[in-house]
């Protein structure tokens, strides 16, 4: 069902963004604690990186049909 595809994409997107954000945040915290004397900037940096990556992935996923370099279309029946 083609109408369910979008919903699936959003699911993935959200999950991915949650993971990435969390990971980024965590890593940021870790790095901030370990290497950067508890500055806040690595945290925001890490979360930003995570968010950015999530955003890019999400966008890429949503766009994936329209990009030509893909060898096969993602079709879900």
């Amino acid at each position: 069902m083609s109408e369910k595809e979008l919903g699936k994409k959003w699911d993935r997107c959200l999950a991915d963004s949650a993971i990435k954000l969390g990971t980024g945040l965590g890593l940021g915290i870790v790095f901030s604690v370990l290497f950067f004397k508890r500055h806040t900037w690595p945290i925001s940096f890490g979360s930003g990186v995570g968010l950015g990556m999530a955003y890019a992935n999400c966008q890429n996923d949503l766009r994936s049909h329209y990009l030509q370099h893909r060898s096969k279309k993602v079709t879900h029946t």
Binding site: M1, S2, E3, L6, Y55, L62, Y66, T77
Partner: protein, 685 residues
């Protein structure tokens, strides 16, 4: 200033430059005219000199061209328009060379004369020569021949008439002449006889009267004879001229006439000559006799004179005076007689002596006369013989001609015979040909008749077979009708079966529930296929059912409708997303638009979509309307107009809708077909 100019001229300076310089200086002065003239004087001189040279050249050329034609020709060839100029000045060019032309002309003229004369002869000859070449028609030839014969006949008749005329006239004249000559001859002989008689017999006045009468007669006769002779000669001459003229005509038919006339002429001439010679001989004889009689008369007269001189008393006619004479007279008379006898004897002796001489002289004379006569006779004889020879020749010629003509006639007869033979042969051949043609015609006619007979019999046969065929056909028709009834019933049964299967197929379509497709249509389709073996249309239709519907079944319209409603909101949300706008931000905007934009839930679609109607919201409302009103097809069409992500979202729904529509269409067609077939078979008779 003028003087200064002139001195400048004499000072041997180029006047032009000086003048010009002067003119320049005096340019503003009023003496420009003279200056110009003077300045132009040099130019004028040059111009004049040039003109003179050119004119002289042209004039010289013209004069020389007049004298020498070759030069003129060369000039005309090389200089354009010079021929016009020279023609204007000198007239057209004379012929190329003068003297040779004259000779040529003379020769040409002579040649022309001879050729003309020669041409005249061939012209006259050639028509006559060409005439025999072309074959004149027979009638023309016959006509010409007849005409020629006629002409000849006419000429012959005319000539013969003239000849006869002249002949008769000349014959008359000749006869007259001959008669006159004979009369003259007779008169002469009579006269001579009378003279002789008168000499021998006694003198009688009656005899002398007779003699005179005879003499007159003779002279008259001789005159008559002469006139008659002249007349005859005239007539003969005219005849001769006529003969010559007719000879000059050169007509063959006239020749025998001419020949005969000539012979007649010759005979007449001969006779005339003979008679004339006779008359001449008679005349000569008469002359002798007259001479003798004259001598005798003279002697008598002398004697008489002597006697009278002796006896003057005695008169004439001394015979009757025997009684009257005296003896003296008698003695004187006897003495005289003796003397006379002596004289006579002496004369006789003298005569005898001179006899020979006299005889010789007489002979000479006679010889001369004989010679003359001989010559004359010879000449006349020669003439006569010549004439006879010529006549003989002519006769022989005419004979020869006759012989030739006879021969020619035989040859012609032979030719005619050959011609008749040839004609006979040709006729035979023609007869053969005509017979063959007639036989051919006959055979063709016979053939025609036979064919017609055959044709008629064939026609009869054909008619019979035709009748038989029609009867047979009708029988066959009846059988076929019966068979077709059976067939029709079979067909009806089949149609019924088809209808039933199609109905079953139709029923399976209804087995769809909400969200559950129908049962696979395979079985029903197979049943339909089984029941329509012979119908290609139905087979094609049944095979046109889409695979999905056969194996999986199709969704009902209601399920599709429900699905669409859920789809609609999704499509609304992604209305702005397409190939170029598909970032997250666009997604956010699209969701915002969907939240904020309100459209009609259902809107009736127009008959024609314009560009504004292609807005996804509008399309979706149109599609909803259609779906609510049961028009799945139109709804599918409208949904098909979506583009971009919205289209991707509704793709599956669209496919399902298509499947359903296809299946429904096929099934409806099949049912329509089955109905039609059923209706067809169950038609009332």
């Amino acid at each position: 200033s003028l003087a200064a100019t002139l001195t400048a001229l004499s000072a041997d300076v180029s006047e032009d430059t000086l003048c010009l310089s002067l003119c320049d200086s005096r340019h503003r002065r009023t003496k420009t005219d003279r200056c110009l003239f003077l300045s132009g004087g040099g130019a004028a001189k040059v111009v004049a000199a040039g003109l003179v040279t050119v004119g002289g050249g042209i004039g010289g050329t013209i004069l020389y061209a007049k004298w020498d034609n070759k030069f003129r020709a060369a000039v005309e060839n090389n200089v354009p328009y010079s021929d016009w100029l020279l023609g204007l000045a000198l007239g057209p060019p004379s012929p190329k060379s003068g003297l040779p032309i004259k000779k040529q002309y003379k020769d040409c003229h002579e040649h022309q004369d001879t050729s003309v004369t020669a041409a005249v002869h061939p012209d006259t000859e050639s028509p006559t020569a060409t005439e025999p070449l072309k074959e004149r028609p027979v009638e023309e030839v016959a006509a010409i021949l007849a005409q020629q014969d006629q002409e000849e006949q006419d000429i012959a008749t005319s000539v013969s008439a003239s000849l006869e005329e002249s002949l008769t006239s000349s014959a008359k004249a000749t006869l007259q002449a001959i008669g006159a000559q004979e009369a003259a001859l007779q008169a002469i002989t009579r006269h001579t006889l009378k003279l002789k008689e008168a000499m021998e017999a006694e003198e009688k006045s009656a005899q002398w009267k007779d003699l005179e009468a005879a003499l007159a007669d003779r002279t008259g006769a001789v005159n008559d004879a002469e006139t008659a002779l002249s007349k005859a000669n005239e007539a003969l001459d005219s005849l001769k001229s006529v003969i010559d003229k007719s000879k000059g005509l050169k007509v063959s038919a006239v020749r025998p006439l001419v020949l005969a006339a000539e012979e007649n002429l010759h005979n007449m001439v001969v006779d005339l000559d003979k008679v004339v010679t006779k008359v001449h001989s008679a005349e000569s004889e008469a002359k002798i006799v007259s001479q003798y009689s004259e001598l005798v008369n003279e002697a008598k007269q002398q004697f008489q004179r002597e006697v009278s001189s002796l006896t003057p008393e005695i008169q004439a006619n001394w015979k009757g005076l025997t009684g009257k004479l005296s003896s003296d007279d008698l003695n004187a008379l006897i003495a005289h007689a003796h003397r006379r006898i002596d004289q006579l004897n002496r004369e006789l002796a003298e005569q005898r002596v001179r006899e020979q001489i006299h005889i010789d002289a007489a002979l000479e004379q006679q010889k001369l006369e004989d010679q003359k006569a001989l010559e004359k006779a010879v000449s006349t004889a020669l003439q006569h013989i010549k004439e006879e020879a010529r006549l003989e020749q002519e006769r022989k010629l005419s004979e020869l001609r006759e012989v030739m003509e006879a021969e020619m006639r035989t040859q012609l007869r032979r030719q005619a015979a050959a011609h008749t033979d040839h004609v006979r042969d040709v006729l035979k051949v023609q007869e053969q040909e005509l017979r063959v043609d007639a036989e051919q015609v006959l055979s063709s006619k016979m053939l025609e008749q036979e064919t017609r007979y055959r044709q008629l019999s064939q026609e009869q046969l054909d008619n019979f077979t035709l009748d038989m065929n029609t009867a047979y056909a009708r029988l066959k028709g009846m059988e076929e009708a019966i068979d077709s009834h059976v067939v029709a019933e079979e067909e009806a049964r089949k149609a019924h079966q088809l209808w039933l299967s199609v109905e079953a197929l139709n029923y399976t379509l209804k087995t769809a529930n909400a969200d559950i497709p129908t049962v696979p249509l395979e079985g029903a389709a197979q049943a339909v296929r089984d029941s329509c073996h012979d119908s290609d249309f139905a087979l094609a239709l049944s095979s046109a059912l889409p695979e999905e519907s056969l194996h999986r079944g199709v969704y009902s319209e209601a399920s599709l409708r429900a699905r669409f409603n859920s789809l609609r909101s999704l499509a609304r949300r992604v209305a702005l997303i397409d190939e170029s706008h598909n970032s997250l931000y666009q997604y956010f905007l699209s969701y915002l638009q969907a939240a904020l934009l309100f459209e009609e839930k259902q809107e009736a679609p127009p008959a024609q979509l314009c560009s504004e109607d292609l807005d996804p919201f509008k399309l979706l409302s149109y599609a909803s309307y259609c779906l609510e009103h049961g028009d799945l097809e139109l709804a599918a069409k409208l949904v098909n107009q979506l583009r971009g992500e919205a289209r991707r979202v509704v793709e599956d729904w669209l496919t399902e809708a298509r499947l359903t529509l296809e299946t429904r269409q096929v099934v409806s067609l099949l049912s329509a077909y089955a109905n039609a077939v059923g209706l067809g078979t169950t038609q009332a008779p």
